[in-house]
């Protein structure tokens, strides 16, 4: 059992891969935004890679452990401390009942993950413990954790002193520029060659109004093909309007002139075009970007997107620990 002393900015229970198979009922997958760091945190404490843990966004929580536990912190560097002493990240630690774990503001990256041996044991909803706050389901009462709440922990035995090999960790450097992979489609025929050229050649700036639903980008104006400008009236007036259709998770949704990357808590359908889609293997970079960071897109094929995701999955195994 863990008591929330301070909740942090928005800390929530998530599991991986999240709430899968309910897109047709209007539920997004949710789950950890950076599932690479998340899975490694679980492996460190002896859990299954998908067991429920905590996702801390921008500013981490302060938590008091009411029982002895084995924990690990991965992802963004929020300068974690245990009873005031530095707690090494990417490593499993034994904590005693009464000890306090405190995370601060993110110094590198944006999202940190806390795993506890045994996993967080909140009730699953639709097969997942992931929090989807908009509908108030999953996690602790359906929302981010609050001060004074108690977080239940399952039974588990972890081994302290395990570390993630440095080359198996996502690289979170000081650079505020990210190379993000993107696959053309499903509506790549609605924007013209100049727009495709601009998409992969200019700097896109991440707006502050971005969260687990969508990542808004600032950049140049989009230009369109005849497909978008000369279409049946039921598609709507603006070139970016289309008859409602399903949205892939990760899609670059063109809302008027503003691209919004729809991420883990996004709506399943809507009436705007999606010229590109960010594949799941690049999500960890989105998750660790901060407002005003720069995105540079690289166009890859579907086959390359599959290989990208597999290359990350290969890091999320016990072979990455020492």
């Amino acid at each position: 059992m863990i008591t929330v002393v301070k909740p942090g900015l928005e800390t929530s229970v998530q599991d991986w891969p999240g709430r899968i198979g309910f897109w047709e009922q209007g539920f997004p997958p949710s789950g950890p935004f950076d599932s690479w760091s998340f899975r490694l945190a679980n492996l460190l404490v002896g859990n299954q890679p998908g067991d429920a843990g905590l996702e801390c966004q921008f500013m981490g929580p302060t938590l008091r452990f009411e029982r002895d536990a084995v924990i690990a912190v991965t992802g963004a560097d929020m300068a974690p401390t245990l009873d005031g002493g530095v707690l090494e990240m990417w490593r499993s630690h034994a904590v005693k009942a009464g000890q306090v774990l405190a995370l601060g503001p993110a110094r590198k990256g944006a999202r940190a993950y806390i795993a506890v041996a045994g996993g967080i044991d909140t009730p699953p909803v639709l097969g997942s413990r992931s929090t989807f706050h908009m509908a108030g389901i999953g996690g602790l009462d359906g929302h981010a954790i609050k001060a004074g709440q108690t977080i239940p922990v399952g039974k588990g035995k972890g081994t302290p002193g395990r570390r993630v090999k440095p080359d198996a960790r996502p690289a979170l450097g000081d650079s505020r520029t990210w190379q993000i992979e993107a696959v053309a489609g499903p509506n790549d025929d609605w924007v013209d060659e100049a727009a495709h050229e601009r998409f992969v050649s200019v700097d896109w700036k991440l707006q502050a109004r971005s969260n687990r639903t969508g990542y808004r980008l600032d950049g140049p104006e989009w230009t369109f093909t005849e497909r978008a400008t000369n279409k049946r009236p039921e598609h709507g007036e603006h070139p970016s309007n289309v008859l409602d259709h399903g949205y892939p998770v990760g899609t670059v949704n063109l809302c008027g002139q503003t691209p919004i990357i729809l991420v883990v808590d996004a709506p399943s359908t809507g009436g705007f075009i999606n010229p590109y889609t960010v594949p799941s293997g690049a999500f960890w970079k989105l998750a660790q970007a901060k407002p005003n960071d720069i995105f540079r897109f690289t166009r890859i094929s579907v086959a390359e997107a599959h290989e990208l995701r597999r290359s990350i999955d290969r890091h999320c195994t016990l072979d990455s620990l020492e």
Binding site: G21, W23, Q25, G26, E234, H245, P248, T277, V302
Partner: protein, 289 residues
């Protein structure tokens, strides 16, 4: 118009979008639902989830279980096997939803918009005027006089996207610009050529015409109707809005709260696309009732 061959385009590494045509002909949704049913019956390995819309079906797959190329082959095979749209017969339940048209809660949301964002005509009157109806009573008669087809359950948990099956009940209206800041949950609203039942208090753009006391979903699965699924409706179901007055609305609302409300959903019918299209073709859209 139905494409000779469905167009299949990738959406990243886990999704493809199958498009059956480019317009809003309801036949295209029937085909999307036919493919959805075929994928379910076929238990295609690696297909994780599907979500229909007006003229397309989005398919989520697990690339560790099926490659993109194999998925395309499988989808083309199933699309070819669908045959002519008129031969489709779809599983379709009919749900009756008690509805208070012109209710005080959506009125409050409209008034709040007029006060805080910009003045606009009262939504039901706006829909009446744009569609050449006589008055609000005819709006209720026309909107409640048809079965509404569930195109998709999407965007928000349990939210149905609906189209009237009776051509005489088709209403069209533009969406709010800018959108409303909030919408009461369970509000019934109409926009474009569709109707929707809002399931959460969120912004919205459709014109508000009424409200139902019946929930579209229940995460706790407290009431028996939600035992097998947390949402009430699924794509290819039909909805009939049944006008009720304030007293009955409040009575149903109280029974929903207690958990004793008996949902009215019938399951004995199937939907024949051919029979429907033959009937719809004979209706005069201007002959309102």
């Amino acid at each position: 118009m139905i494409f000779a061959e469905p167009v299949i385009r990738p959406g990243g590494d886990r999704f493809v979008l199958v498009q059956f045509g480019d317009d809003a002909a309801i036949e295209l949704n029937f085909l999307a639902l036919g493919l959805k049913a075929a994928l379910t019956a076929d238990r295609t390995t690696g297909v994780v989830d599907t979500n229909p819309s007006y003229n397309s079906l989005i398919v989520e797959y697990d690339p560790d279980l099926i490659s993109h190329d194999d998925l395309l082959v499988e989808l083309r095979k199933l699309c070819n096997a669908l045959g002519q749209v008129d031969t489709l017969v779809l599983e379709s339940r009919l749900a009756y939803l008690p509805t208070m048209y012109l209710d005080p809660w959506t009125k409050e949301a409209i008034e709040s918009y007029c006060e805080k964002v910009k003045p606009r005509e009262f939504d039901p009157d706006f829909v009446v005027r744009l569609n050449g109806l006589k008055d609000r009573r005819q709006l209720v008669r026309v909107h409640s006089g048809t079965e509404h087809w569930v195109i998709s359950v999407c965007s928000l948990p349990g939210l149905p996207l609906l189209r009237p099956l009776d051509p005489r009940s088709l209403l069209t209206s533009p969406k709010y610009d800018p959108p409303r800041l909030w919408t009461p949950p369970n509000a019934i609203c109409t926009g474009g050529m569709s109707t929707s039942v809002h399931t959460l208090r969120v912004p919205g753009g459709y014109n508000l015409i009424g409200r139902t006391p019946v929930p579209m979903w229940e995460a706790t699965q407290r009431m028996p109707i939600f035992k097998d699924s947390v949402v009430l409706l699924r794509a290819a179901d039909r909805v009939k809005f049944v006008p009720v007055d304030l007293d009955e609305y409040l009575d149903v609302e109280a029974r929903v709260k207690e958990g004793t409300y008996q949902f009215n959903v019938t399951e004995y019918q199937r939907f024949s696309v051919g029979a429907y299209r033959a009937w719809a073709a004979k209706q005069d859209p201007l002959a309102r009732f």
